[in-house]
């Protein structure tokens, strides 16, 4: 199996593209940065890649709402392209703004009758916050999270509060194991996940969601910001770990194709 090719989609305002490419490189993938305009011009472009990654940033300034404009562009012009990509058994990863775009585009969760099934809205704190969070995984089949039980990663967003249209939707997603990544208490306590451990007030402390196949994942935390041991905020206290937590996600993605 040749090295999996990773299409890292960038748009006006994308800003985590370089470090995300670096993370895929460390994991053994072959990333390339592709501008949304190139993709709109040639929607068949992704067929030459195995992994599509929508990195973090502020696509189109997050004007109107985070990920809204690019999400709509994908809805209007690239729906089929992405459906084909998923159909072909390939992987899609949306990080932070990428997760917001996936939610807005309907790629991750199909629309309910009355509109989108769920959303990522303003943090309860009402502001952008950069802080590290504990995460626990809760999905059997999510390709990216295989072999990972917990991770320690930073979040950096203003609109990351996961809210479903209604309780039924929440229950359905939960029951299907799609609420793949949750915020967990920092001190290991068992009574809930209060702010700031859950940094935005997400329902059921959801930090990441996957599709039923487990091959499409969106998450608010930034795994690409914890791929070197010196990224850890307390490495000067706790020592340099052998492997940084976020790297495993990228290795899982690359390894998924190597294992085939």
């Amino acid at each position: 199996m040749p090295t999996p090719r990773v299409l890292i989609l960038r748009a006006p305002g994308t800003n985590c593209d370089h470090e995300t490419a670096h993370a895929f490189e460390l994991a053994g993938g072959a990333p390339e940065l592709v501008h949304i305009n190139q993709l709109l011009e040639d929607p068949s472009l992704p067929s030459g890649y195995q992994i599509l990654c929508l990195p973090g940033g502020f696509s189109y300034g997050d004007d109107i709402a985070a990920g809204r404009i690019l999400g709509n562009q994908i809805r209007h012009h690239l729906q089929q392209t992405l459906a084909d990509f998923k159909e072909a058994g390939k992987l899609v990863l949306g990080i932070c703004n990428g997760f917001q775009i996936l939610m807005n585009s309907g790629i991750l969760l199909p629309d309910a009758e009355s509109g989108t099934s769920a959303t990522l809205t303003w943090n309860d704190s009402g502001k952008f916050e950069d802080r590290w969070v504990n995460l626990a995984t809760g999905s059997e089949n999510c390709v990216f999270l295989q072999g990972i039980e917990t991770m320690y990663l930073p979040v950096a967003h203003a609109e990351g509060k996961f809210v479903t249209r209604d309780q039924t939707m929440l229950d359905t997603l939960n029951g299907a194991g799609q609420l793949a990544l949750r915020y967990a208490p920092l001190n290991g306590s068992t009574d809930g996940v209060p702010y700031p451990d859950n940094p935005n007030g997400s329902e059921l402390h959801v930090a990441g969601v996957c599709d039923p196949t487990g091959r499409v994942l969106g998450l608010m935390p930034h795994p690409e910001r914890h791929v070197d041991p010196t990224h850890h905020p307390r490495w000067t206290r706790e020592g340099l770990k052998e492997q940084a937590d976020g790297l495993k996600m990228f290795q899982n993605a690359v390894g998924f194709f190597a294992a085939d």
Partner: protein, 973 residues
């Protein structure tokens, strides 16, 4: 053509976050308690849209129907007047026509992507308030909801049914009969035309045109005014100054050149082959060597005057502007981190004590932080370092320092525009925004500035700049242009004027893409509209360049040509509107000649309160809770400080990621472990004693912050940013020259080059009380920013205590230096000795600390600054979640014996506390060598800080939770 309004409210059951924030602010600012308010955001959309289409846009584009509900109707429809909360007073706030509205611009494009037709979009904010008295409503709108400098307020229904922006411009060449004016006429022309030139300068221009035998056009006068402005030419500090102090008189032909620049020249000369400076005080930012492949660049700017009038926009465009400096340095550097330092009046200033025209400091602070946050985060540049200083003298003139570090390939570090190259405008369009920013920044602020200079205030559009950044780095690496610079103060006038200085340029102003119709040729020429760069593109590269830009949706336009004439020629539709010689423009300014006097205030002894009356625990808690010292976590977390993936030492460190780090460390090249440490130093309070020692202390502080995390003291580059009062007064200029002399002395002694700098003068605010003019001048405010280098970031250390049992060493001498200290501040004491720097000891200390950190002898290291030893140890303890037992008996002292208060709180320079594992003590002591040091205690298992006097009395005995709470609570907003 219909004008639709789409209002978006939180859905039932969802929080109204905007309303909550407004109510909190109204209460905090003393405007209204328990304000009942509902908020909506809205869009005015004008176009050929039917109701179904407008509804579709509301549903699919504008609102999130999981958490929001909408009201969609044509403007004027009664539905839009239906209150959601039963409150009757409706306030609309909208950007004034012509003010940048990035969300509206994006919305317009997004609507087109739906295949629908709209020609104009404007955003609005809507507030529903109770039946408040008009007076309260007016105070709320003007002080909190809207800013008159950029926004318009409509109370009740919107009084228009269509949107219009700009009308066609009819060319009319304006000539100004400058040759005939007498001195009064020249002065009047300078002031009313907002040229802000002196009479001598006006006379020089007059004489030039008399010699030419013709009158000047308005564009010519503006070009000269921009180029000769303080902002662009630094004429005061680079001018002739006769300076007198206690050591006699010194005459400078060019003060900056003979002090700060000269220091760098001497350092470079002394280093010889080891010189690691690449370009200093030449380009838009200073450049130094980083590794075999890259150089790094650094620049810090101020954006004080605009931030005083419109904090959000001022800070927003301040950071946006300084990012364009590295981007316009050499052939373009990649911005890799930001640093931001702000000075405000205390946020608890009573609202009724504010002079007219002054915004409440709390509002200024929130606006400034939000402005930097929104621009920096959108640019994807981590904001890694900063500081806040509070003093009531910043009331009328808050200071906003924004800095940016960039990375540039070594072979792209210089540029040379060529005759025959196209002059290309890249990025944002030109509008009427920002007219007269360069000359305005030279003017003193008054209570009328708001109405006079509103045009100089702007909002940025970060995404336009990010798109420009992406294009530039690609085009740079493909070699598609021969030079680049930023469009900053003075707009095209400065950018083209500077680039073409050695060649000559012809500019076709009618070619510049405009945001809307109606701009005159002069407005186009001097507009400071944001997010624009000017490039020099060889004709044979144009096609490639243009197609690269087109592919990413960035506008690039040829607006002229560099021609070997030595002249600056401006045309508008073929009509010549200006023709100036580059020589007159750049070298014709008469030298500014100033007198400067420094007289040190007499040293007053500081009388300590009787020992019995002072509870040192309380004093320590008060200092920890004083605003300069208190935790800045509220600010720091709002900045993305980790984007770009190179974060090594974050601004917040320790067991709970919330202790105050000394300097941030980043790895700009992800494949390498070589790093940069970014820090700063500033001590406005010391300036009240002696600006020489203030400057020396600021340099020492910036250096020791860098050294404390592991930077190599022999590879630190520094920047100066002078913010001062009215320098026409000899005493004020004298205090600045004195600071510059310290910069020279310290730089040379430390071998630490200044590589760039900037000044902002005349930071004074005047207003009237009962017909009497009152003036508030800021304290002398010299910011020193430092960029250190770290050979291997894995050797860095942080300031939090790590392990119980480890030894604590104090390195450096503690002297009787409580003058200007935070102890004096919280105890309301006056006088004392201001901290000085013993240059020789300081240099050895920095080297010794580095020698101890490198081999791993140091587990934690913290510099001693505000609050001295007691505060430093307290911070180390609560950051690490570990106690400390300290004995003052062994503290190394200066020649004069110090009392306990001094040992605890003196702010003597060049000191560090180091935590050293027991088994590393011999190695540590060996590395520290002859530098004064002593073991003063140990890290303890208990959650307490204990500090014992030499007689065994416990001076400080406090639990960590109390210490930390005192430090965290004041700015936990």
């Amino acid at each position: 053509m219909k004008l639709w309004e789409i209002d978006i409210y939180p859905a039932p059951g969802q929080p109204d976050l905007v309303a909550t924030a407004v109510a909190t602010d109204a209460s905090d600012m003393g405007l209204a308690d328990n304000l009942a308010i509902s908020a909506a955001r809205g869009f005015l959309v004008q176009g050929e849209l039917n109701e179904e289409q407008a509804e579709r846009l509301a549903r699919e584009l504008f609102a999130d129907d999981v958490v929001e509900r909408t009201v969609v109707a044509p403007v004027g429809d009664p539905q839009l007047q239906q209150s959601p909360n039963g409150k009757s007073r409706l306030v609309h706030v909208m950007p004034k026509p012509g003010v940048m509205d990035p969300v509206a611009d994006s919305a317009l494009n997004a609507i087109a992507d739906f295949g629908l037709e709209a020609n104009t979009v404007r955003t609005l904010r809507k507030f529903w308030l109770g039946d408040l008295p008009d007076e309260t409503l007016s105070a709320l709108t003007s002080r909190l909801l809207a800013n008159d400098a950029i926004e318009q307020v409509v109370i009740g229904p919107l009084p228009f049914d269509h949107l219009q922006l700009g009308s066609a411009y009819e060319f009319d060449l304006v000539r100004i009969p400058i040759r005939e004016l007498d001195d009064d006429g020249l002065t009047k022309l300078s002031k009313e035309g907002q040229l802000y030139l002196t009479l001598v300068e006006m006379q020089t221009i007059q004489q030039h045109f008399q010699e030419l035998g013709r009158d000047a056009t308005d564009a010519e006068l503006e070009s000269v005014a921009q180029t000769w402005s303080e902002h662009c030419s630094h004429k005061t500090l680079a001018g002739r100054i006769a300076y007198r102090d206690e050591n006699g008189e010194q005459r400078f032909e060019n003060m900056l050149k003979e002090t700060i620049f000269a220091a760098t020249q001497q350092i470079r000369h002394d280093l010889g082959d080891d010189d690691w400076c690449v370009s200093v005080f030449e380009d838009n930012a200073g450049i130094v060597r980083f590794d075999d492949d890259y150089n790094v660049v650094f620049k810090v700017e101020t954006h004080n005057h605009p931030s005083a009038l419109e904090p959000y926009g001022g800070a927003n465009t301040g950071i946006g502007g300084v990012i364009r400096d590295p981007l316009g340095t050499g052939m373009g550097a990649k911005p890799i981190c930001n640093t931001d330092v702000f000075c405000f009046a205390p946020p608890d200033t009573p609202a009724d004590e504010l002079p007219g025209g002054v915004l409440h400091p709390r509002r200024v602070m929130k606006g400034v932080v939000a402005g930097v946050r929104d621009y920096g985060n959108r640019m994807g540049i981590p904001t890694v370092n900063g500081a806040l200083y509070f003093d009531k003298r910043y009331l009328g003139n808050p200071l906003v320092y924004c800095g940016n570090v960039g990375l540039i390939p070594r072979d792209k570090s210089s540029k040379e525009p060529q005759a025959g190259d196209w002059i290309v405008a890249l990025g944002g369009r030109t509008g009427r925004d920002g007219i007269h920013g360069a000359t305005f920044s030279s003017a003193e602020l008054t209570s009328e500035s708001e109405s006079l200079s509103g045009g100089a205030v702007q909002i940025g559009n970060a995404i336009t700049e990010k798109m420009v950044l992406d294009i530039i780095l690609e085009a740079r690496d493909r070699g598609l242009y021969s030079a680049i610079t930023d469009c900053g103060a003075g707009g095209f006038s400065s950018a083209v004027g500077e680039m073409g200085e050695k060649i000559g340029a012809e500019v076709w102003l009618d070619k510049a893409p405009l945001k809307y119709d109606g701009l005159s040729y002069t407005e186009i020429w001097i507009s400071e509209a944001q997010e624009r760069m000017v490039l020099s593109v060889p004709p044979e590269k144009w096609d490639d360049f243009e197609s690269l830009c087109r592919n990413e949706g960035v506008e690039a336009t040829i607006i002229g040509k560099f021609v070997p004439t030595g002249r600056l020629q401006l045309k508008y539709n073929g009509n010549e509107v200006a023709d100036l010689s580059m020589e007159f423009l750049h070298d014709g300014r008469p030298p500014v000649v100033r007198e400067a006097i420094y007289q040190a205030p007499a040293v007053k002894p500081l009388t300590l309160p009787a020992a019995v009356s002072i509870d040192l625990n309380q004093t320590l808690l008060k200092i920890l809770g004083s605003l300069n010292v208190a935790s800045k976590e509220w600010v720091i977390r709002q900045y993305d400080h980790e984007v770009q993936g190179g974060s090594v030492i974050k601004p917040l460190v320790g067991v709970k990621n919330d202790g105050p780090g000394d300097a941030a460390v980043v790895r700009p090249v992800l494949k390498s472990h070589r790093g940069l440490a970014i820090s700063c130093g500033m001590n406005p309070h010391f300036g009240d004693f002696d600006t020489y020692h203030m400057a020396a202390s600021a340099i020492d502080e910036a250096m020791r912050n860098c050294v404390a995390v592991g930077a190599d003291p022999s590879r630190i580059a520094i920047l100066d940013n002078f913010c001062w009062g009215y320098t026409d007064r000899p005493e004020t200029l004298g205090s600045l020259v004195r600071a510059a002399l310290a910069c020279r002395d310290l730089a040379v002694a430390f071998d630490t080059p200044f590589i760039s700098g900037k000044d902002s003068l005349n930071n004074e605010f005047s207003y009237e009380i009962d017909g009497q003019k009152q003036t508030i001048s800021i304290p002398p405010s010299l910011l020193i920013s430092a960029m250190g280098q770290v050979a291997d970031v894995r050797r860095c250390v942080t300031m939090d205590l790590k392990e119980a049992g480890n030894a604590l060493y104090l390195v450096g001498l503690t002297k009787n230096e409580l003058g200007g200290s935070h102890f004096s501040l919280v105890e309301h004491l006056d006088g004392g000795n201001v901290p000085q720097v013993d240059i020789e000891v300081a240099k050895r200390t920095f080297a010794a600390i580095h020698a101890a950190i490198q081999p791993g002898c140091v587990r934690a290291c913290h510099d001693l600054s505000e609050g001295g030893l007691a505060v430093a140890i307290a911070e180390m303890a609560f950051a690490g979640g570990m106690g400390a037992d300290i004995a003052l008996a062994e503290v190394p002292q200066g020649s004069e014996e110090a009392c306990n208060v001094t040992l605890l709180f003196s702010e003597s320079n060049s000191r560090f506390v180091c935590e050293v594992p027991w088994d590393k003590q011999p190695d540590f002591e060996h590395a520290i060598g002859g530098v004064p040091h002593a073991k003063i205690g140990r890290v303890s298992e208990a959650d307490r800080l204990k500090i014992e006097a030499s007689n065994g009395v416990l001076l400080i005995d406090c639990d960590l939770a109390t210490l930390k709470e005192a430090w965290q609570s004041p700015l936990r907003w």
